[in-house]
């Protein structure tokens, strides 16, 4: 029995993935450790991200109309399947809390320094809870409006900041040591591209599942290209300083000054983070509550939305002590931490399903 009645089109899936990948990465620059070569790290990370997407879309296509929790039950059996599902649900829950943390940290540092973090966390969580309660269809429809707006803002910012761009800031190309570049490209593959593995809880609700892989790929590639443009823009405007700032896109937009009339447009970048962060948190939140409802065999995921939201807020409040620890985790721990969830679980499940010739027609496939 499906707990989600809604269906989304492949186009909506692509747009939702773009919004999800933008998430926090529109403002927290991926590949920042590679300095002015960040755009190369993102381009390489995009290729690895597409490989990760190939694995999880292969699994979703193999078990059409099933979420990862249902797939795990079929492949590993009830007990082991639920154990692996809970590990994956933890990853989604933790991902949501990390984005929430980034979100509130940015708002506290740049926009509302006098407002308690807990207040911004509760407010965004209520908005996300409302969207999750209404289901994946509503989330997908919201994405059509908000993602278009965000892409427009990125183009608008880039055009306005063009007079301050110095392309020689991108030279020399490949200055960063190859090992460091590859590490940063892997970090970029896991955050933000590989995070799209969360869609293993969503792909079951696509109306034409046979075309879902191309929709996922389109979403990832478009998001990747926009992130490359953002990285080139930031490096061209800020030079070596791009690697030092916590929020380089925000600082870049601050440079915009059109005839002393159009200034302080960096708030538009903040709006980008607020809207795109909403999608990333909501998809992770949705996957968490839907997954838990399936593991515990509930008739609806709605009763656990608010308690899980509260737990996510508590984790977001306490998961790191300061911004430096968060960035240290993003650059060092996260690229390793996510390997089991983004690569190992989908890949091993897919291989086992092929070996066991699952799904079998008839009995086993409910």
């Amino acid at each position: 029995m499906h707990l989600e009645k809604g269906k989304i089109s492949n186009f909506q899936l692509s747009v939702l993935i773009i919004g999800f990948i933008f998430g926090a990465s529109v403002i927290i620059a991926p590949g920042q450790g590679a300095g002015h070569d960040a755009w190369i790290a993102i381009a390489l990370g995009l290729i690895e991200g597409l490989l990760i997407a190939w694995i999880f879309t292969a699994l979703a296509r193999h078990f059409k109309g099933k979420t990862l929790v249902e797939i795990n039950s079929l492949v590993y059996g009830k007990f082991l399947g639920n154990f692996i599902s809970i590990l994956f649900i933890w990853y989604l829950f933790h991902l949501g809390a990390l984005v929430l943390n980034n979100y509130s940290r940015f708002l506290k540092l740049e926009l509302y320094p006098a407002t308690p973090k807990i207040l911004t966390l509760i407010l965004i969580m209520l908005v996300c809870a409302s969207s999750v309660r209404r289901g994946i269809e509503v989330l997908a429809r919201c994405s059509l409006i908000l993602v278009t707006l965000t892409v427009f803002v990125v183009i608008f910012d880039t055009l306005l900041v063009a007079p301050h761009m110095y392309l020689h800031n991108l030279l020399p190309v490949l200055e960063v040591p190859i090992g460091k570049l590859l590490w940063n490209s892997h970090a970029t593959a896991t955050f933000p591209f590989g995070d799209a593995v969360a869609f293993l809880m969503v792909l079951a609700f696509v109306n034409k599942p046979e075309k879902s892989r191309s929709a996922v790929f389109k979403g990832i590639v478009i998001a990747g290209l926009v992130l490359i443009i953002v990285a080139v823009r930031n490096a061209a405007v800020l030079g070596q300083m791009a690697a030092i700032y916590t929020y380089p896109s925000y600082i870049t937009a601050r440079v915009i000054d059109v005839g002393d009339v159009l200034t302080r447009v960096e708030v538009l970048v903040a709006v980008d983070l607020i809207t795109m962060g909403f999608f990333k948190i909501s998809v992770a939140y949705y996957g968490t509550v839907l997954g838990l409802a399936q593991v515990f065999n509930l008739r609806s995921y709605r009763p656990i939305i608010l308690p899980i939201g509260i737990l996510m807020v508590i984790l977001a409040l306490t998961n790191v002590s300061n911004t430096a620890e968060m960035f240290d985790f993003a650059n060092k721990g996260y690229p390793i931490y996510t390997i089991p969830f983004q690569i190992a679980i989908p890949l091993i499940t897919l291989l086992l399903a092929k070996l066991r010739k699952l799904p079998q027609t008839g009995g086993e496939q409910a």
């Binding site: 515990f296 998961n319 996260y334």
Partner: protein
């Protein structure tokens, strides 16, 4: 602060529990109660100014410690 937490959690319980009891969704009620109680305990601890261990930092230190990154 603790009073605010209790009021908030009380409001959530008042919104959710009557509907679940009316529908006799006992399994959903148990799940809700478990997560709600866990949230309540952690929120009260935080509101009393007691610090919870930073999970992400612990995960990061474990990974970087093992792999010597």
């Amino acid at each position: 602060m603790s009073a605010l937490v209790l009021i908030g959690f009380g409001a959530i319980a008042l919104i959710q529990i009557p509907g679940l009891v009316r529908k006799q969704w006992w399994r959903e009620l148990i799940c809700f109660t478990v997560f709600w109680s866990l949230g309540l305990v952690l929120a009260v601890i935080l509101s009393m100014g007691i610090k919870l261990p930073p999970l992400t930092t612990i995960i990061n230190e474990t990974i970087t410690g093992i792999l010597k990154i």
